[in-house]
């Protein structure tokens, strides 16, 4: 399992209800269900991946988060997880509102557009950055709303969203983000992971 999922699963306590939004092939769900006895649900737009999850026995429904989240009752999950998808929505602000409504706590991870390789790419090459974490060209990327770790923290401040935990992935290592190391982490981390409510 990738480092990001390891970090997310560590945040999630055992025996809790978890909704994985954009659950892909269900790797994280399976881990949470088997190892942590979590009661998991998934939402995934891609038919092939949904069918894969159902074949594994995972409760995943096919659908688009921008349309489907509305059906889940208020605070019906202990955790809602959104891994590296926020930037791909037409309206990330509204999706985030839904996530916060459904979950007692929400875990959001974002690819960091402030990562130094991204910055250098644009600065020196003068073209839209293509990196390991952001492998697509500008014309075929699903990412509509890229942001940096700092952007996301500012956004939470502005919206009065409480950040309970912030972490980042730097060279395959997970570490905490604090007020003091924020500027540094915003340059050297590929990924930000936030526990918010």
């Amino acid at each position: 399992m990738k480092k990001e999922f390891e970090a997310i699963s560590k945040i999630i306590e055992n025996n809790k209800r978890v909704l994985d939004v954009g659950c892909g092939d269900g790797t994280l769900m399976e881990y949470l269900k088997e190892k942590q006895k979590n009661d998991v649900r998934g939402l995934e737009p891609q038919k092939k991946l949904v069918q894969k999850c159902i074949a594994k026995g995972l409760p995943v429904i096919e659908g688009d988060a921008e349309k489907e989240l509305i059906q889940f009752p208020k605070k019906s999950f202990d955790y809602v997880v959104l891994s590296q998808t926020l930037q791909a929505f037409f309206n990330p602000e509204e999706v985030l509102e839904q996530l916060l409504r459904i979950g007692k706590q929400t875990i959001v991870s974002i690819p960091n557009f402030g990562y130094w390789k991204v910055r250098l790419h644009l600065l020196f090459k003068g073209t839209m950055p293509v990196t390991k974490n952001l492998p697509n060209e500008w014309y075929n990327t699903p990412n509509l709303h890229m942001c940096t770790i700092q952007d996301f923290v500012n956004f939470c401040d502005k919206k009065k969203i409480k950040i309970d935990k912030s972490m980042c992935l730097t060279n395959e290592k997970i570490s905490e983000i604090t007020k003091r190391n924020m500027k540094y982490k915003n340059i050297f981390s590929q990924l930000g992971i936030f526990l918010i409510e």
Partner: protein, 382 residues
């Protein structure tokens, strides 16, 4: 439930209905219409072997014109069973592993209590004196079959179309009785469009002068009903691909009302063969049961209440080209299940084959249900 076993006895009828297993239910069942029935027959078939723990049983519900013979050759019609693509050794619902039970619905015409049976009180055929039955009646009757087989918990209840409605009704009535619940291409409340289409079929039957005449059957009316219904089971794209404007056996139009087009000839054939195997009054009664189905209303306008505290694993499946029970109606079930926190999964399968997709060779569909049932079984055995 050994105590209950004495209440049942199984008969293998030796009349025109030979090869049909029938359970005579000796308890009384109060139908939704208020009538109480007792000592009524329920025809059924089983495939595969019930294991020692009795935990490998799957109850399959048939659709409007199906019967208990879901796979192999139907001994009465001599044609393949209606779900031969899905049920059988090594198939999605693998009869090498699972014990598949399928019963003919109340109101049906393959040996169960229905309008084609003799009314013991009058010694005449029931015909239209048969009581109006509902999906709920149909499902409650089948519970007796499970009791008689000594099955306390099913691995799955599964069915498409009207079979799916029975699955939903089963889940609502018996929340503890199945590990998994698989309604396919169906709806929790029959839509106005579908009631309209059923009414069209019924009117075709009732307009036939042979309807209600002794010793005759309204074959023409029933054939028209079947033709109209058959169109609704297909999709526009499927029809285009299979038939287009192709002519039947001739190079040019005949300037007559014979079946010039292949699609006409196909529909006529569908109608003609249907009357050989189906009873017109059964068609009236079963379509009525579908029209009356409104699970939301049964639970006081809140469909979620039908599934409250239900721990079964739900798997809802719809098909992209199904306009009779479109994805949006299937999704309403998903939404109701999510609203009460049920264990639900949902997939829309891409297919051009319309509503009929669930009966046909649609590999993605068969793979999905097969692997889902296997994963459920693995968890049950854990």
């Amino acid at each position: 439930m050994p105590g209950l076993a004495g209440l049942f006895f199984c008969l293998i009828m030796n009349s025109e209905l030979k090869n049909i297993k029938r359970l005579i239910v000796n308890q009384s069942l109060e139908l939704d219409c208020g009538k109480i029935i007792k000592g009524f027959p329920l025809a059924y078939e089983t495939y595969g072997t019930l294991n020692k723990n009795k935990d490998n049983a799957i109850l399959a519900f048939h659709a409007l014109t199906g019967d208990q013979f879901c796979t192999n050759i139907n001994p009465i019609t001599k044609r393949e069973g209606w779900w031969t693509f899905a049920v059988g050794p090594g198939k999605a619902i693998d009869t090498n592993k699972y014990f598949v039970i399928c019963a003919n619905v109340l109101g049906g015409c393959m040996g169960s209590y229905g309008p084609k049976e003799i009314n013991p009180e009058t010694n005449k055929l029931f015909g239209t004196t048969f009581p109006v039955i509902t999906i709920r009646d149909i499902v409650r009757a089948q519970k007796y079959l499970l009791d008689s087989l000594g099955i306390e918990k099913l691995l799955s209840v599964i069915g498409g179309s009207m079979g799916g409605m029975q699955v939903l009704q089963f889940a609502a009535l018996y929340p503890e009785l199945s590990h998994s619940t698989i309604p396919i291409a169906c709806s929790a409340s029959h839509s106005a469009q579908n009631i309209a289409l059923n009414e069209l079929g019924r009117q075709a039957i009732m307009a036939d002068p042979n309807w209600k005449k002794e010793n005759s059957s309204p074959d023409k009316g029933l054939a028209v009903a079947r033709m109209a219904a058959h169109i609704t089971y297909l999709s526009k794209k499927g029809l285009e691909e299979k038939f287009g404007r192709k002519l039947q056996d001739k190079g040019s139009l005949k300037f007559s009302f014979d079946a010039d087009f292949q699609i006409e000839s196909y529909l006529r054939y569908q109608g003609a063969t249907f009357v050989d195997r189906f009873d017109a009054n059964s068609y009236l009664y079963i379509t009525r049961a579908m029209d009356y189905f409104d699970l939301e209303k049964q639970y006081k306008g809140n469909l979620s209440h039908a599934f409250k505290d239900n721990k079964s694993k739900f798997c809802i499946i719809s098909f992209s080209s199904d306009w009779l029970y479109p994805t949006i109606e299937n999704k309403e079930i998903v939404i109701a299940l999510n609203a009460c926190g049920a264990n639900v999964r949902f997939a829309e399968i891409n297919s051009d084959k319309g509503h009929d997709s669930f009966l046909l060779n649609v590999p993605e569909f068969l793979k999905t249900i097969g692997e889902f049932i296997n994963s459920t079984y693995n968890e049950v055995k854990k």
